[in-house]
C-alpha cells in the first residue's frame, strides 16, 4: 500500500487525513496525483497549482520520483511555520 497523508487545508478539503492505494508496481507522482484528483475532486485545484509540494518518506519528491508499496506520501500545501 501507498499511504497518502493530507495536511492543513488539504485535510479539510479531502475530509480525511489519509488515503491508501494498492499498487502492483511503482508509479509516478503524476499518476498518484491523478488517482487522488479522481477520488477527491475538491483537491484538484490545489493539486494542479504550482505551490503544492510532495514528500515521499519525509523527503521532498520531484516529478521524477517513483512511489512504491510501503511508501508514505505527503501532500503539503505551502508552509507557514515560523
Amino acid at each position: 500500500m501507498i499511504k497518502v497523508r493530507f495536511f492543513a487545508m488539504l485535510k479539510g478539503l479531502a475530509g480525511t487525513e489519509t488515503k491508501e492505494y494498492a499498487v502492483a508496481a511503482p508509479i509516478s507522482i503524476e499518476s498518484l496525483k491523478e488517482l487522488i484528483k479522481k477520488d477527491f475532486p475538491s483537491l484538484s485545484q490545489i493539486i494542479d497549482s504550482r505551490s503544492l509540494l510532495i514528500s515521499v518518506n519525509q523527503e521532498f519528491a520531484s516529478k521524477e520520483t517513483l512511489v512504491k508499496d510501503g511508501d508514505e506520501v505527503g501532500f503539503l500545501p505551502p508552509f507557514s511555520g515560523g
Partner: protein, 141 residues
C-alpha cells in the same frame, strides 16, 4: 543532541534554551536569538488566535537538518531550534532559534539563515482565527 531541536505544544523558556546552547563551549562569545511571536494583526485582519499543525516526523527531520547544515556551513559552535504546535495565544512565542559563535557576525548570519530555511522547508502550517473565522495561512513572508 535531540534536546537542541524540539517541536512541542508547551511554552518554552528562552533563557533555558540559551543556557543549554551556551553550555556547549566556553569559547562562545556571541549568541543571536530569533524569537517569533503571535501578532494580533496580519494582512489587514485582526487576529484573535493562532494554531499550528505540522507533519511530525518530517518537520522534526527538517529542523534537525537545518541545525546540521548550519553547523556545517557557518562558523558557529552550537544551534538550537524550538517550534510550538497546537493553539497559541496572541503575544505568545511560536518559534525560537539560538545560534552561538565566537564572533557575532557568524551567529547573526546563521540565525537569519536558519529562520528563513525553517519557513521554506519545514512542513508546518499556521491557522489564524480572525473575525471571519479560521483560515489557513497559505503564504509565508
Amino acid at each position: 543532541m535531540s534536546e537542541l531541536v524540539t517541536i512541542q505544544k508547551e511554552r518554552f523558556s528562552v533563557e533555558e534554551v540559551i543556557t543549554r546552547v551556551k553550555s556547549a563551549s566556553k569559547g562562545i562569545g556571541a549568541v543571536v536569538v530569533f524569537l517569533g511571536a503571535a501578532r494580533d494583526f496580519s494582512k489587514g485582519e485582526v487576529i484573535t488566535g493562532l494554531s499550528f499543525e505540522h507533519y511530525p516526523e518530517m518537520a522534526e527531520k527538517k529542523l534537525k537538518d537545518i541545525r546540521s547544515r548550519a553547523l556545517d556551513n557557518f562558523n558557529i559552535i552550537e544551534m538550537a531550534i524550538v517550534h510550538r504546535t497546537g493553539p497559541i495565544d496572541i503575544g505568545e512565542d511560536i518559534v525560537l532559534i539560538v545560534a552561538a559563535s565566537a564572533h557575532r557576525n557568524d551567529a547573526f548570519m546563521a540565525c537569519e539563515w536558519a529562520i528563513t530555511e525553517l519557513k521554506r522547508t519545514a512542513p508546518i502550517w499556521k491557522r489564524e482565527t480572525t473575525q471571519k473565522g479560521e483560515v489557513w495561512v497559505s503564504e509565508n513572508p
